[in-house]
Amino acid sequence: MPDSTPHPSPLELSSPDKTFLDSNELILNMGPQHPATHGVLRVILKLDGEKVLGVECVIGYLHRGVEKIGENRTYAMFNPYVDRMDYVAAVSNGLGYCETVEKLLQIEAPPRANYIRVILTELNRLASHMLWLGTHALDIGAMTPLFYTFRDREEILKIFEKYCGARLTTHAFRIGGCLYETYDGFERDVKKFIDFVPPKIDEYEELLTSNRIWVERTKNVGKISAADCKALGVTGPVLRASGVKWDIRKALPYAAYPDFDFEIPVGANGDTYDRYLVRMQEMRQSLRIIRQAVEGLPEGPIMAKVPKVMKPPAGEVYHSIEAPKGELGYFIVSDGSTQPYRVRVRPPSFVNLQALDLMVRGQLVADVIAVIGTLDIVLGEVDR
């Protein structure tokens, strides 16, 4: 087994005054209101000067009891709630949930619906990565990329808005397929967008990829090995940047992904810079998938035959998709009634955030910020 030693709680919270300014140790409380914790994450840092001896994350400030709500809503009613978890990648959340329930109901979405799902999910992945890039760069001190990424993300949100009327929490899909047919000019808009974005990605890379300060700030920062990633359950771009070529879209394909030709970008060192490069590559791969999907968009129905009142047979199912942040899984237990007996969400951010302690030990305060940024967490998903 790789490094699987249990790491004890880094801090003795019960006696904070014991260590204050004692033998150069300092407890620094970062958050829950802090510009760089991406929401209401509270990180307690134990410092020796500027060196981090350990961190403890205090989470739950955004806990809304999504899983409990799921047990008290019908399958269809719970669908919009999942959008509120990872609110920057709401479409992915919806896709995961719909596919899980479809699996439970043993129905399959028609091909056209699957293609639309892929297009929107990949657009959402782009939007999520753009937001990550902007905030990550801002954390490291580069202000300007934030505005560039928000400008381009706006185009994606416009497509969402035209498609389903919502920009952020879209509720784009329904169990069994899609509710909305594509609007007139959907394909034109998407094609225009995928022609418009590559030069913009070049622009971001021009600002950052070979920028000396950026490279110095991110290379060898927050390193994590492939073995540690697997032991900690870290998934998504973080895992791939450590050199593991694993993507659920390829490993356990879902929706229409088997039809498309794309590559899984991997890194070598597992440091912040590699994660940055992997995500930049992923953005380009997503564009590739969208191009294939929109060019091969089949005709046909967009909704499978779904009973008005959904009563899946008793049983349980776990299904996961590759969300922008990693493996997003849903474990649903049905007792044959109209409401799920138990809904469990396996949030990628929650599990990835656990690696923060390992990644920042022995590094500097400024690196904590960089690593929180590179983990790409959304607190709505961590806390649910």
Binding site: G60, K230, E316, R346
Partner: protein
């Protein structure tokens, strides 16, 4: 297969019965020969493999799965509450093996107040997952280095994902004391 029919899992009342087929694989055969009646059930349901084990041997089997069978990634740990059952908790591990590209669900049943050995020595990433199960269901994990509530406040009373905890119920004392809301809602 014979053991399965002989000794059904105890206290299955109220539990939804999955309509699965028996799962036949070298892994199951190996486990069954080694542990016999401890392996209650090995089924494939909707294309997903599931093992239901006796709680006394589950930790050992998880160890074997991790070390001998290459299940090197613990995707998730969660629990399900069946209040009417004799052993009201299902503790569920969802495992994945990178070399085999295979998922596996391991389940065991726990009684009220029964604790379970922590799997942090096997997969270090289960730390927070176990804390969440403790937070939401009150299942204790022995040997966990830092078993505190994770999502809810530390001095919260009650375990919200148990079935006897209503949807609008909350720790009114805590809300009154900490948020200053008179009604506690």
């Amino acid at each position: 297969m014979s053991e399965e029919t002989k000794s059904p899992p105890p206290g299955s009342a109220g539990e939804p019965k999955p309509a699965g087929r028996p799962w036949v694989s070298p892994l199951v055969t190996k486990l069954k020969t080694r542990y016999g009646s401890g392996v209650f059930e090995a089924s494939t349901c909707l294309g997903q493999n599931c093992l239901v084990l006796d709680s006394s041997i589950t930790h050992e089997i998880l160890n074997i799965l991790s070390e001998e069978e290459e299940f090197d990634y613990c995707v998730d740990i969660t629990a399900v509450h069946y209040p009417k059952r004799e052993k009201p908790f299902d503790l569920v591990w969802i495992l994945y093996s990178f070399p085999r590209n295979q998922r596996l669900r391991v389940k065991t049943m726990l009684a009220e107040q029964e604790s379970f050995p922590s799997s942090i020595p096997i997969w270090s990433g289960t730390n927070w997952l176990e804390r969440e199960v403790y937070d939401m269901f009150g299942i204790r994990f022995d040997g966990h280095p830092d078993l505190r509530r994770i999502l809810l406040p530390e001095d919260w009373k009650g375990y919200p994902l148990r079935k006897d905890y209503g949807i609008i119920e909350q720790d009114q004392e805590w809300v009154q004391a900490n948020l200053g809301i008179e009604s506690g809602q």
